[in-house]
Amino acid sequence: MAKHAHKETTPPSAGPKKAGKPAGKKRPVAAPAPPQSPKHPMLRWLGGAFGFKSMALAVVGGLLFYGAAHDNSGYQWVWTNLLKGNWDFIQKHRKATLDERYQMKLGFDYVFCSYVRDNTPEDAVILFPLKKYNTEKGGDYQLTRAINVKNWVTHFVYPRKALYKDEQETNPRYHDVTHVAIIAGHGYEDLDYPVRERSYFTVLPKKAQTVNSE
C-alpha cells in the first residue's frame, strides 16, 4: 500500500538520474520525497509489539515454559499449592476473623494460648506444667511441641508472662506465679486450693479468689 502510494507521487521521469540530463524544455522537477516509513511510527511500534510475529513468539515462549515447568516439581508446587491452592482457599474463607486465621495455621495450640490470654489479667505470671506432660493427649485434644517454647507462648499471651514447672529451681520469677495453666489434666497440683470439677485444658488462678457479692 505504502509502496504503491510512493510510485503514484513520484513519476519515473522525475527521478534523480533523469533530472541530471539536459532537457530541451525545462520540466518542473519534483523535490525528492523524504524517505517515508511504510506506516505511522506508532502503528509500526504497535505492529512490532503486538503483531503476528510477536504473538507467535509469545506463544512459543509460553509453550516452552509450560513444557519445561510442567515436569518441574518446584514450579508445579508453586502453582497448584502455593498460589492457586491458597488463592482458592482464601476466596472460600474470605470472611474469617484474625483468630480463625491463626487457628487455621496453628491449630489447638493457638486456641489454648488465646484462651489463656483472654482469661487472665495483663500482669499475670502463668505457670505451665512440666514440659514432658504438655504434649500428652487430654480428652480429644493434644498440644504440639510449640507449647514448650516459651517465646512461642509469650507471642500469644504477651504482656502476660509464661514459665514452666521445669524452671522451679532456676527462674526467680517462679515465686510470682499468679495463674496456673492446666494442660492434659496436669497442673492442678500447683493450685493452692482443691478443684472438684476438672477439665483437661484451662487456666486457673493459683490462689483461691474470694467473690465479692453486693
Binding site: 510475529k53 513468539l57 509469545a58 518446584g74 508453586v78 507471642h155
Partner: protein
C-alpha cells in the same frame, strides 16, 4: 494511622533515593521507596532508643517528616535536583515491548497478586518469626524500647542469652514490625507484602538498564517464581527481606560500575548498609563489594571514595556490635575466630551445597540457567570481560558466606540442619543476581537483541 505511617515511609524513601541519585529510573525510585524508607526509619528508632527517647509512633513520624522536609528542600532548591530527575524521567521513550513482554509481565503480576494475597491473609505463624522477629517487634511496640526490652532483660527470658539468640540478630525486620504495630496494625504482614512488591519493581528497573524489556520481564518473572523464595516471601522471616537489600545493593553496584553513573554507587552503598542491618551475615555482600571497590579505588586512585564506601558499608555491623556490648545484650560467641581445618565439616558443606544447587524443587531453573548462560558466555568473559564484575561479586559473596558458615561452631544444631535451613535461605540473595546475569550476559542479551530486531526494526532500518 497505618496508611499515614506507610505513606510517610514511602515518601521518605523516595526523597532519600532522589537525593542520592537523579539518574534513577521511575521503576527504581518506586521500587526502592519502601525498603529505603523503612530501613532508615529503623535506624532512627535505634538512635531514639540510644538517646533514651521512647520508641513510639510520634517521634518516629516526627523524625521522618523532618527528614522529608529537609530532603525536599534540598531537592527543590539545591541545584534543581528534582528538575534534573524530572528531565531524566521525561526522556522516557516507549519501550520495545511485545506479547512475550506482556505475557511475562502478566504472569509476574499474577504471581505477585496471589502471593501478596496469601501474605496478607495469614497472620504470622512461622516458627522463627513467632519465637523471635515478630515477637520482638510486638514487645518493642508495647514497651517502647529495644535495649531494655523485657525479653532481653527479664530473668524469665534467660534463654535469650543463649547462643544464636534472636536478641543478637540485627534489628531491621524486628523494628519494621514494631513500626507497623505502633501504627495500630493487627499483624505485621503488610511489611512483607510491601517488600515483595517493591523488590519486583526495583529488580525490573535495574535489570532493564542492561537487558531489553522483554528479557527483563522474563527474568523478573523467573526470579519471582523461584519456588522456595516465593514461599518464604510471604512469611515474616528475615531471609527474603535480606535478599531484597543484598541483591539490589549488588545490582546497583554493578549498574554504577558498568553504566558509569557515579551517584548509583551511593544508592548501592545505602542498600548494602541496610543489608547488613537485616542479617549479620550480609557482611558477605559488603565484603565482596569492598573487595571490588578496593581494586577499583587503587586502580583509579579514588581513595577518598573508597574509604567512605568501606567505612560506611561496615557501619551498621560495627554499630550493632557496640550496641550489644554497651547494653549487655550479649550471648556466647559461636564464631571461631582462628582459622582451622576440618575435613568432615568441609565434606558436609560441599555435599549439602551440591544438593541445594541441583534441586529444581527449591530453586526451579535458577542454577541450571545460570550454568547454561555462564558456559555459553565463557568466550565473552575471557575476551571482553563481559559482566566479570557481576560474576566476581556473586562469587566473592558466596565464598565469604560459606567461610562464615564454616567458622561457626554449631552447638545448638547440626551442621546438616543449618545447611538445609539457614544456608538454603541465604541463597535467596543470589537468586536475583543469577537471573540478572542470565538476562544481562552476552549471549542471552544478543539473542534477545535479535528478537527485538526481528519484531521491531531491522527491516525498516535497512530501508
Amino acid at each position: 494511622m497505618i496508611y499515614f505511617g506507610l505513606s510517610t515511609t514511602i515518601l521518605l524513601g523516595i526523597c532519600v533515593a532522589l537525593s542520592l541519585s537523579q539518574r534513577l529510573k521511575l521503576a527504581e525510585v518506586l521500587g526502592l521507596a519502601f525498603p529505603v524508607g523503612i530501613g532508615l526509619q529503623t535506624f532512627a528508632m535505634i538512635f531514639l532508643d540510644v538517646l533514651n527517647i521512647r520508641i513510639t509512633a510520634t517521634p518516629v513520624l516526627a523524625v521522618s517528616w523532618l527528614t522529608i522536609a529537609g530532603l525536599a528542600g534540598f531537592l527543590y532548591f539545591r541545584r534543581g535536583r528534582l528538575k534534573e530527575w524530572c528531565r531524566y524521567v521525561s526522556r522516557f521513550t516507549c519501550p520495545k515491548v511485545s506479547w512475550l513482554w506482556l505475557l511475562a509481565l502478566l504472569a509476574a503480576g499474577v504471581v505477585m497478586v496471589m502471593s501478596v494475597a496469601k501474605t496478607m491473609y495469614y497472620p504470622t505463624f512461622d516458627t522463627d518469626s513467632v519465637n523471635g522477629f515478630n515477637l520482638i517487634g510486638k514487645v518493642v511496640a508495647h514497651e517502647g524500647t529495644l535495649k531494655s526490652c523485657s525479653l532481653f532483660t527479664d530473668p524469665n527470658h534467660w534463654e535469650m542469652h543463649g547462643p544464636a539468640s534472636y536478641m543478637t540478630y540485627v534489628p531491621l525486620s524486628q523494628l519494621a514490625y514494631a513500626y507497623v504495630y505502633m501504627l495500630g496494625a493487627a499483624t505485621s504482614k503488610i511489611v512483607n507484602a510491601l517488600f515483595f512488591i517493591s523488590f519486583a519493581v526495583a529488580f525490573y528497573g535495574v535489570t532493564s538498564r542492561f537487558a531489553t524489556h522483554t528479557l527483563t520481564a522474563v527474568a523478573t518473572f523467573f526470579t519471582l517464581v523461584t519456588p522456595e523464595m516465593l514461599a518464604f516471601s510471604s512469611l515474616s522471616g528475615t531471609n527474603f527481606t535480606h535478599a531484597v537489600y543484598a541483591s539490589l545493593g549488588i545490582l546497583f553496584f554493578v549498574a554504577w560500575y558498568y553504566k558509569k553513573i557515579p551517584s548509583l554507587l551511593w544508592v548501592s552503598l545505602l542498600l548494602l548498609m541496610l543489608n547488613s542491618w537485616t542479617r549479620t551475615e550480609g557482611v558477605a555482600f559488603v565484603g565482596a563489594a569492598c573487595c571490588v571497590m578496593l581494586w577499583h579505588g587503587v586502580r583509579t586512585k579514588t581513595y577518598k571514595k573508597l574509604a567512605l564506601f568501606v567505612g560506611l558499608s561496615l557501619f551498621p555491623f560495627v554499630f550493632w556490635q557496640i550496641f550489644l556490648k554497651a547494653y549487655h545484650l550479649e550471648a556466647p560467641l559461636a564464631f571461631i575466630l582462628h582459622p582451622f581445618w576440618d575435613s568432615h565439616k568441609i565434606a558436609v558443606i560441599a555435599e549439602e551445597m551440591w544438593k541445594l544447587f541441583t534441586s529444581f524443587t527449591l530453586y526451579g531453573f535458577t542454577f541450571l540457567w545460570f550454568l547454561v548462560a555462564l558456559l555459553s558466555n565463557v568466550w565473552a568473559i575471557i575476551k571482553k570481560y563481559d559482566h566479570a564484575v557481576t560474576l566476581l561479586l556473586t562469587l566473592l559473596a558466596w565464598i565469604f558466606y560459606t567461610i562464615l558458615v564454616y567458622q561457626v561452631d554449631y552447638v545448638w544444631d547440626s551442621l546438616e540442619a543449618v545447611m538445609r535451613s539457614s544456608y538454603k535461605r541465604f541463597l535467596f540473595s543470589f537468586v536475583p543476581l543469577l537471573w540478572f546475569y542470565v538476562a544481562a550476559g552476552y549471549n542471552v542479551s544478543w539473542l534477545f537483541g535479535k528478537v527485538d530486531n526481528f519484531l521491531f526494526g531491522i527491516k525498516s532500518k535497512k530501508k
